[in-house]
């Protein structure tokens, strides 16, 4: 079977809805399936569970929290990553805090899905952020799948999780297709995936950049043996797997499409520097500090991490 990333998300939602009557979906234009992941859900599961919402992100996010506190397992689809800014209070100050603040009386099994995070060429400054590091800092479970199989499996686990989870589906990963010969299945949160083994350098690549890392690793294979490490979940991060990888390689490059300062790239470098084996100074490739993506495509692209930077960084850590 040929499986696209978007179709994988669609399947995950369909299977979760079919399996558990408590699962329901909120979002804008989801009845029409406009963004892809919710295609045909309304027909199959009806407006009682697939809820096309007015443009009231704050209220419907809080509503979903209220629903999650009372037995439902809501999924919210957000049309643009910056809508997460609009509901930051609801997610970080409410959903994330209920469990501890109530002394464990409740979880908040809420899933937020952002199909098309990061730059989509030509959508400009307010539609092109990749704010996953913000949620890792706040402590929400944060997932960025790179492949269709992972997208399926991680979204299933997110929906089944008793805590709020946010799933970023990078716009640049949506075109990825896979030939799937196995049964799709949930993939546990918090487990990294090593896409390619190597002995010289560990490249930690986030989301769509996994594919760039793999391409560069192939290309430089004659020169450098690169291990490609996909954390898949940014919080909780699979630190033991990273430590094991660095035991083998001792060298680290991170490629991460979020802003530089206080991004997940910083976290990986910091933790590695503090606790793991490094034989050379580590490197990271990120967006610049405080990036706002300009509209013009050349400018937009110039600020995203690219392969050439990765090549240079790999050669630099090998020196």
């Amino acid at each position: 079977m040929r499986l696209s990333y978007t179709k994988a998300l669609n399947r995950a939602l369909t299977d979760a809805l079919a399996e558990d009557p408590a699962v329901c979906v909120f979002g804008e234009d989801i009845g029409a399936g406009m963004a892809g992941p919710t295609l045909n859900l309304l027909d199959r599961f009806g407006p009682g569970r697939i809820v096309d919402t007015p443009l009231s992100e704050q209220a419907f996010t809080s509503m979903a929290i209220g629903a999650a506190l009372t037995g439902r397992r809501p999924v919210i689809e957000f049309q643009i990553p910056s809508l997460l800014f609009l509901v930051f209070e609801q997610l970080v100050n409410q959903a994330h805090k209920f469990s501890l603040m109530t002394g464990g009386q409740t979880g908040v099994p809420l899933t937020c899905l952002v199909p098309g995070s990061g730059s989509r060429d030509g959508w400009a400054g307010q539609h092109s952020d990749h704010p996953y590091s913000l949620f890792a800092h706040a402590g929400m479970k944060t997932v960025v799948p790179a492949t269709p199989t992972d997208a399926y499996g991680l979204l299933r686990s997110a929906i089944a999780d008793p805590d709020p989870v946010i799933v970023f589906a990078p716009a640049a990963a949506l075109p990825v297709r896979e030939t799937v010969t196995w049964e799709l299945a949930p993939i546990p949160l918090g487990c990294a995936r090593i896409h390619r083994e190597g002995t010289d350098v560990t490249v930690v690549a986030v989301g769509h950049l996994v594919h760039d890392a793999l391409a560069v690793a192939e290309e430089l294979a004659p020169e450098i043996s690169v291990e490609v490490f996909d954390p898949r979940t940014l919080h909780p991060f699979d630190w033991p797997a990273l430590a094991a990888s660095l035991e083998r390689t001792g060298r680290l490059v991170v490629i991460d499409d979020s802003n530089r300062s206080c991004g997940i790239g910083a976290e990986v470098l910091a933790t590695a520097a503090e606790e793991m084996r490094l034989v050379a100074p580590p490197r990271r490739i990120t967006r610049p500090d405080g990036t706002v993506l300009p509209f013009a495509p050349q400018l937009d692209r110039a600020l995203q991490p690219h392969r050439d930077q990765l090549r240079r960084a790999l050669r630099a850590v090998m020196k």
């Binding site: 009231s56 929290i65 209220g66 209920f98 469990s99 603040m101 002394g103």
Partner: protein, 331 residues
């Protein structure tokens, strides 16, 4: 640990009077404990507004749900929470409703449909709407009530939630406790138009009621709750009320001049307790007062005698699946 009363206890005038007194007495005790330093951080006292919580909760069934505010003790007690465990919560003890993790502003008892006080003004509104939606989804005839102040009328998320509740005809009752002020800001200089007009504009039946009169609140709430339970959609009550104390116990340490002494004295004339006592047979109120005193003395003893939590367990419950986050230091 005493067993929690349920909202059915509010079915008689005597039960309602007793609850008014319980809330009043609880708050007075809490004020003492703030003054003595036993309660850290202070509280937002509910004194003066008791008729709203009691009147509204008297219209509810045990399985109905509420969301509350920073000024939440009255709501939490009226919905049936055990005063001793609420007090233990304010004191940060493991026997508290939230095991000492929430404190005054987050007191909750999910087993009684109390989805929590909330530190963010307006935040409880849409959470109650979600609970109402949930109940309908589950085919249950539970109603949800959102309590909030006049200040919350200017929070966008609450206004958004009026629209969702109205559009989807959800079984939720919005209860605005208009005590005339948001901290120091008079409602008259903050709320353009009227509270009821604002709700009505979304197509929500809206009524204004004397929030110092328990029976008036109860009858207005009963009407709205009955309609909501029967599928007639949301309702809105504006309860005109007043807090006799400062916004927060911190206010006692400050010189603020936003209300006159006369205004406070005038409103004290409308104290809901004597009004509710007047409905009772001679001598009953005094008896109930005595039983509340006993109950609170026991609660105080229970709470002050309860254990402090173990700092080693500070991160317990951070994640519902038991995930243990990394510590703040590896050294």
């Amino acid at each position: 640990m005493t067993s929690p009363a349920d909202s059915a206890g509010l079915g008689s005038p005597a039960g309602r009077y007793r609850m008014l007194r319980l809330i009043r007495g609880f708050e007075e005790l809490a004020l003492d404990l703030v003054r003595s330093g036993a309660i850290t951080g202070g509280i937002h006292p509910y004194i003066g507004q008791e008729a709203v919580a009691v009147g509204v909760c008297a219209a509810l069934r045990p399985q109905d749900r509420i969301t509350s505010t920073h000024r939440g003790h009255g709501h939490v007690l009226a919905k049936g929470a055990a005063p001793d465990r609420l007090l233990a919560e304010l004191l940060g003890r493991t026997s508290g409703l939230n095991q000492g993790r929430g404190g005054s502003m987050h007191a909750a008892d999910f087993s009684l449909g109390i989805l929590g006080a909330n530190g963010i003004v307006g935040a409880g509104g849409p959470i109650a709407v979600g609970a109402a939606w949930s109940a309908r989804q589950a085919g249950e005839d539970r109603v949800a009530v959102a309590f909030f102040g006049d200040g919350a009328l200017n929070q966008g998320v609450l206004l958004e939630s009026f629209n969702l509740a109205a559009m989807w005809q959800l079984p939720v009752l919005f209860v605005c406790e208009n005590n005339g002020y948001a901290t120091t800001l008079p409602a008259a200089t903050a709320v353009a138009g009227s509270a009821t007009g604002r709700a009505a504009a979304f197509g929500i039946p809206a009524a204004e009621v004397d929030g110092m009169d328990t029976e008036a609140v109860r009858s207005a709430a009963t009407e709205a709750v009955t309609r909501a339970r029967g599928g007639g959609g949301p309702g809105f009550l504006e309860c005109r009320t007043y807090r006799f104390e400062g916004h927060h116990t911190m206010e006692r340490l400050m010189k603020l001049h936003y209300r006159t002494a006369e205004e406070i004295a005038d409103w004290r004339e409308h104290d809901p307790l004597p009004r509710a006592a007047a409905l009772l047979p001679d001598g009953l109120a005094a008896k109930l007062d005595a039983s509340v005193r006993e109950q609170l003395a026991a609660a105080e003893q229970f709470a002050l005698g309860s254990e402090h939590p173990d700092p080693e367990r500070a991160l317990d419950h951070l994640y519902a699946d038991g995930l243990r986050p990394r510590a703040g230091s590896t050294a």
